[in-house]
Amino acid sequence: MTGYVGGLVFGLSGGMVIALAALFGVWWERKVAGRIQMRLGPTEIGPAGVFQALADTIKLLLKEDITPRQADKKLFRVAPFLVFTPIAMSLVVIPFANGWAPLDTSVGMLFYLAVPAVSVIGILIAGFSSGNTYATLGGIRGAAQMISYELPRTLSVLAIAILAGTLAPVEVMARYEWWWFPVSLLGFIVFFISSVAELNRAPFNIPEADSELVAGYFADYSGIRWAIFMMSEYGGIVATSYFGAAIFLGGSQGIGGVLGVLLIFLKAILLITVIIWVGWTFPRFRSDQLLTLAWKVLTPMALVQIVIVGVIIPWL
C-alpha cells in the first residue's frame, strides 16, 4: 500500500516537475527564438512575459477536448499518456544534485536510454488513431526517426560508460574529470544530435513538420491532451539536457549543495538554449536525409568514439 501511495506521490511530483519544466521551457524557447528573430517574444504577462506559458496552459486546460469522429477513440485518448509517461519516468534517474537522483540505480544510463524510447509507441498510436492522413504520416515518420536514432544515441553514451566504468549517472558525475570532455567530444555531438532527433525537435521535427503535415501526429489533438504532448516534448528537452550535462559535461563536478544544483542547472540551461538555437537556425531534414545522417554519419561517428575511448583506456 505504501508503495502505491509513494508511487502516486512520486508520480504527481514528477508530473509537477515536468509541468514546471515545460512552462519554463516554452517561455525560454519563445524568448530565445524571439531574440534570434530580432523580436521580443512574450512581454505581457509577468516580468518579461515569464507567465505567458502559464496562461497558455490554463487556457488549454479550459479548452474543449475534441475526439474526432473518425478516430479510434480509446487509443486516441490514451496516446498522450503513453508518450508522457515514459518521458516522466526517465526523469527519475536524472541526477539533479551532486550525488542525488530520485532513483539512484546502477543501471541509470540504461534506464534513461531505454524508457523514453517507449514513447514511440505512443506517437505511433497517436498518429494512427487520429484517422487523419497527416497524423498517420507523422506517426510513421516519428516511429522511423526514433528507432533510427536509438542506436547512435546508445553508442555515444557507451563511451562515457567505458570511461567512467559505471552505468549510474550519479557515479559518472562523481568520477568526472575535465579531460573526458575532449576525449568524448565526438560522442557528445552524436548524443546531442540524436537526442534532438529523438525529441522530434527542429531540425528533426519531420513528424510534426508544420509546413508539410500541419502538426503531424498530434494534429487532431486539442486542449489538455495536446498540452500533454507539448509537456512531454519540453519535459524531454529538460531530461535530455540534464542527462547530457551530467554525463558529458560533468554535471555538478562533485560540488555538493546548492552550488552543485546550480551548476548542473546552468549546464542544462546551456544545453536547452543550444537545442533551441539549433532548432531555430536550420531547415528541416527530409526523411531520407534524416536516415542518411543517422546511419551514415552518426553511427560511424559513435563507433569511432568507442574506438577512441577503447584505445585510450589501456593508457590510463
Binding site: 522511423a144 531540425p203 503535415l213 531547415p283 528541416r284 527530409r286 531520407d288
Partner: protein, 399 residues
C-alpha cells in the same frame, strides 16, 4: 516506413469534394486487376501553411513518394475580369493592386501600359524612371517573400524572418511614397500618382548596402546550409524545353536555363539604359530557381542605383489625360517582367469609358500548371518545396 505495408490506409482517389484540411474517408479500394491499391490520398489545402494562399493539391502518395499531385485552383477566384468590365479605366487600377498582392506595382504597371497603348498616351520620362525604381523595389520585396517562404517551407523560420526583414524595409519605403503597405495604386495610366517625398532616393541609396549585407547573410544562412541544399537540389527538375512549351516564364524558366527576360529581350520603358545581367540556372531544380531570385535581387539593386542616378526632374503624369479615359475601339496587349514572369494585360475597348474585356495573363497561373509534372516522384516534403519554388500568388493565379 512505407505506408503500403499498412493496407488499412487506402483511399479513394476520386473526386473529393469536401474541401477540408484533412481527409477522413478511408475506404479500401480494389484496382481493376484485383490488387489492392495502396495509395494514401493526402489533401493539401486549400488552407495549408505551405500552399502560399489557397491552393489545394490532391496528392496521392505511396509511402512518402508522391505518385500524383493534382492542383485544384480557383479558391481565390474573385471575378476581377468581370468586375473590371463594370469599372472605369481609373477604377480598375485598385483592382489590379489586389491581383498580384505580393507585387502590386507590376499589375498596376502592366495594366497601365495596356491602357496607354490603347489610348495612345505617352508617359513622361520621370514617370518611367519612377516606375522602374518602384517595380525593381517591388521585385526585391516579392523575391524576398518567395525566398523567405521557400526557407519557411523547408522549416527554416528564422531565414524567413530575415528575408521578411528586408521586405519590410521596402514596404516602409512604399508607405512613405504612396501611403499604403501593399495595395499601392501608384502606377496609373499616364504616369504615376505621386511625386516622391523629400529624401526618399537618398534613404534608398543609404539602405541598399545594408540590404546587400543582410542578403548575403541570408544567403549564407540558408543557401549555404548543407541541409537546405539537400532539400532544394535536384528537386522538381524542369527542362528548358518543357519550360518553353509549358509557357513558363520568370525565374521558373530562367532557372531551367531559358534565357528570357522581357526587360532584356523584349525591352520596354527605360530598361535599355541600365546595365544589368540576367541570372540563369542550368539544372532547373528548385535550388536554381531560388538562386535566380536571389541574384535578381542583386540585379534589381543595381538597376535602382542606376535609375536614381539617371532620374531627372520633370512631370510625373502625361498631360491632358481626361478624367474618364475612353480609348478608341480596339484591343491591345502589353506585358512587363514581373517577379513571377511575363505579366500581360489584354484589354478590349468598345469606345466607352469602361473596358469591354480585361484579361490578365498571369505568369503564376502558367507556372503553377507545371506542379503535377515537377512534384511527381518526390516525397511529400518536397511537394511544398516544389510548390514554393514556383512562387504562385493566388490572387494572380485565380484572378
Amino acid at each position: 516506413m512505407n505506408a503500403s505495408s499498412i493496407d488499412r490506409i487506402t483511399s479513394d482517389a476520386g473526386e473529393v469534394d469536401a474541401v477540408t484540411l484533412k481527409i477522413t474517408e478511408r475506404t479500401k479500394k480494389i484496382a481493376t486487376d484485383g490488387t489492392p491499391v495502396d495509395e494514401l490520398v493526402v489533401n493539401v489545402g486549400p488552407s495549408h501553411p505551405s500552399t502560399h494562399g489557397v491552393c489545394r493539391v490532391i496528392t496521392h502518395v505511396d509511402g512518402e513518394i508522391v505518385t500524383k499531385a493534382e492542383p485544384v485552383i480557383g479558391y481565390l477566384h474573385r471575378g476581377v475580369e468581370k468586375i473590371a468590365e463594370n469599372r472605369t479605366y481609373l477604377q480598375v487600377v485598385p483592382l489590379t493592386d489586389r491581383l498580384d498582392y505580393v507585387g502590386s506595382m507590376y499589375t498596376n504597371w502592366a495594366y497601365s501600359r495596356s491602357v496607354e497603348r490603347l489610348a495612345g498616351i505617352r508617359v513622361p520620362e520621370r514617370a518611367e524612371y519612377l516606375r522602374v525604381i518602384t517595380c525593381e523595389m517591388q521585385r526585391m520585396a516579392s523575391h524576398m517573400m518567395s525566398l523567405g517562404s521557400t526557407s519557411g517551407d523547408s522549416g527554416a523560420t528564422t531565414a524567413f524572418i530575415y528575408s521578411f526583414d528586408i521586405r519590410e524595409r521596402v514596404i516602409e519605403f512604399f508607405e512613405d511614397l504612396c501611403g499604403s503597405r501593399l495595395t499601392y495604386n501608384y502606377v496609373r495610366p499616364g504616369g504615376v500618382s505621386m511625386e516622391v517625398p523629400d529624401g526618399w532616393f537618398d534613404d534608398i541609396l543609404a539602405w541598399l548596402p545594408i540590404a546587400r549585407q543582410s542578403l548575403s547573410e541570408l544567403d549564407r544562412l540558408f543557401f549555404g546550409n548543407h541541409i537546405a541544399r539537400g532539400r532544394l537540389k535536384g528537386i522538381g527538375v524542369l527542362s528548358a524545353e518543357d519550360a518553353v512549351s509549358w509557357g513558363a516564364s520568370g525565374p521558373v524558366a530562367r532557372g531551367s536555363g531559358v534565357n528570357w527576360d522581357l526587360r532584356k529581350h523584349d525591352t520596354y520603358s527605360v530598361y535599355p539604359r541600365f546595365d544589368f545581367d540576367v541570372p540563369i540556372g542550368s539544372n532547373g531544380d528548385a535550388y536554381d530557381r531560388a538562386r535566380c531570385r536571389l541574384f535578381e535581387v542583386y540585379e534589381s539593386m543595381r538597376i535602382i542605383e542606376q535609375a536614381i542616378e539617371q532620374i531627372e526632374p520633370g512631370p510625373i503624369k502625361a498631360d491632358g489625360i481626361p478624367r474618364l479615359i475612353a480609348p478608341r475601339p480596339g484591343d491591345a496587349y502589353d506585358h512587363i517582367e514581373s517577379a513571377r514572369g511575363s505579366l500581360g494585360v489584354y484589354l478590349v475597348s468598345d469606345g466607352s469609358p469602361r473596358p469591354y474585356r480585361m484579361k490578365v495573363r498571369s505568369p503564376a497561373f502558367c507556372n503553377l500548371a507545371l506542379l503535377p509534372m515537377l512534384a511527381e516522384g518526390h516525397t511529400l516534403s518536397d511537394l511544398v518545396i516544389v510548390l514554393g519554388s514556383l512562387d504562385p500568388v493566388f490572387g494572380e493565379v485565380d484572378r
